[in-house]
Amino acid sequence: MTDKARVRTEAARLLGFFEAHGASVVEADILQPAETLLDLYGEDIRARAFVTQDPVHGEAMLRPDFTVPVVQMHMADGAEPARYAYMGEVFRKQEEATHRASEHFQVGYEVFDRTAPLEADAEVFALIKEVLEPLNLRAATGDMGLLLAAVRGLKTTERRKAALLRHIWRPRRFRALLDRFAGRAALPKGRDALLAQDDPLDTSAPHIGLRSTSEIADRVEALREDAAAAPISAQEVELLDDLLALRETTGHVLEHLRDIAVDMPAIASAVDRLETRAEALAKRGVDIATLDFEGSYGRTSMEYYDGFVFGFYAESRPDLPPVATGGRYDALTRVLGNKNGERRDIPAVGGVIRPELILTLTEEVTP
C-alpha cells in the first residue's frame, strides 16, 4: 500500500472507534467560504490556509480545520445532544516550517451537549486517550476558563478587562498590556502629549475616512479614563503570574489553585469545575495523580479554546507535532451562532487525531 492509503486505512479505523462509541459520521466540504474563517481567525489565517477564488462565490479556502464546518452544520439542523465523528484532509500552508506537510489527515470527535459539559470534557479526553493507549503518549492539559475568570475578576476598569480578554490568546500582547495597566511599563509614545492638550480634537487636519469624529472623541475619552484609573495591583499581577506558571499534576494543582483562590475569589467557581472534571476523568479511568496540568496550555493555538484543553505528545519524538489535540470552544459557537441578529450558542468540546503520526510512531515501536 502507498503511504497515503495506509494513513487512510488508519483514519478509517479511528473513525470506526468513535462510531462504535455512538458518534454519527459527518462530512464537510473541502472548499470553505473564506469570509467566515477570516472573521473568526483574523487576517493571520491567510498565512496558514490556502486561499482560492471561485468565480461565483468569491474567495474560498481549502478547509484548515473541521471545527467550523461541523459547528455550522450542527447549528443549521442538528438535534441535541449530538456526537459527531469525521475524517479527511486539512490543508495548512507551511511558510516558515517548510519541512512540514501542507496537507494531512485528521480524525475528529465533537460533542455538543448542554446538560453536562464537564462530563463531556472527560468523555472526549478519555476516548482519545483510550484509542491512543498503545502508543504510551504524554498527555498535557490546561483550562483556559481559569485565566478567563481571573482576568474578569481583576479590580480594574471594564475597558482594561476587555482589552486583556481580547488578547488572551496572544501571550506577548497580553503581557505588554498587563505591564502597562499595572503601571510597570510606559504609555505608548505620544499618549501623554495628547492628554495634556486642552482640546485634543482641535486639529488642522481635515476629516477623512469612515471613522467618525465622534469615534475619535470616544477614544480620547477612553484614554482619559484609562490615564485616571489606578494601576492593577502588584498582588493581582503576581497571582495571575502564579496561575500562568502552574506546571503540576492535576492532583497537586487543585490544592495550589485553592490557595490562589483565597486571594483571588473570582476563580473559585472555575476551580470547582476543574475539580468536578478531574473526578469525571478519574471515573473514566484516567490517573489524575500523574496527569500533567499547565496553566498556560492552550494560549497559543489559533483555535478559540476557552475551557478545558489537552494534547497528546510522543516524548521520544519532540520533533513531531502533537498526535492529538482538543478542547472546549463554547465561544466559537457563540460567534458562529451570532448571525443576522440571531443569538445562539451551544457548549461544544472535541478533539482531533493525526493518523499518520500514529503510523510513524507504531513503526518505531515495531520495526
Binding site: 477570516l38 472573521d39 483574523g42 487576517e43 493571520d44 491567510r46 498565512a47 500552508k93 511558510e95 516558515e96 517548510t98 482589552a163 481580547r166 488578547h167 496572544r170 506577548r172 500582547r173 505588554a176 505608548p188 509614545k189 505620544g190 499618549r191 495628547l194 485634543p200 480634537l201 486639529t203 487636519a205 481635515p206 476629516h207 477623512i208 475616512g209 469612515l210 471613522r211 469624529t213 469615534e215 475619535i216 470616544d218 477614544r219 480620547v220 484614554l223
Partner: protein, 232 residues
C-alpha cells in the same frame, strides 16, 4: 555555461544598477534598438545579462532561472515565502531607498503607534460590524508585521496603485505603502505611525540558492565578487 545576471529592464533603477557595476569596472549596456530588451557585459567573461521587470526578479531567482539578480529588498521579502531558503543577499547597493510604512488619517489625533491602531481596530469592528481595512500591495510583509506586534481585527484590502487615495475614497481606513519622502502621504492627509518602518528597503544584489551553479559559474562569481569588493 554562463552565469545569468538579472537586472531591472528600465528606468532609474536600471541606470543606477548600470552605474553601480560600472564603478567596479564592469560595464553593463543595452544593445540593439531602444526598444529591444537585449544587453551585454564588458569587463568580465562568462556573464549573461537578462533584462527583467524588477517585480519578477525575485520569482526568477527562486526558480533558479537566474543566478544573480538586482531588485528591491522589499520585493524579495514580499514575494518569496521563507526567502532566506531561496536567495542570499550579496550586497546592499545604496540606492532605491524607500520605507514601507503604515499610515492613518492625520485627523486620528488619538493614534500614534501600532498599539493605538490595534485598540482602534477593535472599536471600529464593534461600531461598524466589519474589520478595519488597510489598503496595501505588501500583503505578506504587513500581515507578518501586524502579527508580531499583536494587532487584531483588521483586514488587508488589495491596492495596486493610488493607495494613498483609498482613505478619502472610503475604501480603506488606513494604508501601508512604500515611501521615500512622505510627500504623497502628507498631500493625502495621512500620517505615518511612529516607530521603525515595517521594512527599510533598498536595491540589493541577490544570489539564488536554487540555481544550478557549475564550477565555471562559481569561478565567475568569485571574480565578480573580487571586482565588486564583496564576499561571495
Amino acid at each position: 555555461m554562463t552565469l545569468k545576471l538579472g537586472v531591472p529592464s528600465k528606468g532609474r533603477l536600471m541606470e543606477k544598477t548600470f552605474d553601480w557595476f560600472g564603478a567596479a569596472g564592469i560595464e553593463l549596456a543595452r544593445t540593439g534598438s531602444d526598444r529591444e530588451y537585449a544587453a551585454a557585459v564588458n569587463g568580465l567573461d562568462g556573464i549573461e545579462l537578462v533584462l527583467l521587470s524588477a517585480g519578477e526578479i525575485p520569482r526568477e531567482l527562486a526558480a533558479g532561472r537566474i543566478h544573480l539578480g538586482v531588485t528591491g529588498s522589499d520585493l524579495v521579502r514580499e514575494k518569496l515565502g521563507a526567502w532566506q531558503e531561496k536567495v542570499t543577499e550579496l550586497a546592499p547597493m545604496g540606492f532605491g531607498h524607500a520605507d514601507l510604512v503604515i499610515a492613518v488619517p492625520r485627523c486620528w489625533v488619538d493614534v500614534n503607534t501600532l498599539d493605538d491602531l490595534d485598540a482602534v481596530a477593535a472599536a471600529f469592528r464593534a461600531n461598524h460590524g466589519y474589520r478595519l481595512r488597510i489598503a496595501t500591495k505588501y500583503h505578506r510583509l504587513i500581515r507578518d508585521h501586524l502579527r508580531i506586534h499583536g494587532v487584531a481585527d483588521y483586514q488587508l484590502v488589495d491596492s495596486q496603485g493610488a493607495t494613498e487615495g483609498t482613505v478619502k475614497n472610503e475604501t480603506a481606513e488606513a494604508i501601508a505603502d512604500i515611501t521615500s519622502t512622505g510627500e504623497t502621504l502628507r498631500a493625502n492627509h495621512l500620517k505615518i505611525l511612529s516607530g521603525n518602518p515595517v521594512h527599510k528597503s533598498q536595491a540589493t544584489l541577490f544570489k539564488s540558492r536554487k540555481a544550478d551553479w557549475t564550477g565555471g559559474d562559481r569561478a565567475t562569481l568569485k571574480k565578480l565578487c573580487t571586482k565588486l569588493g564583496i564576499d561571495g
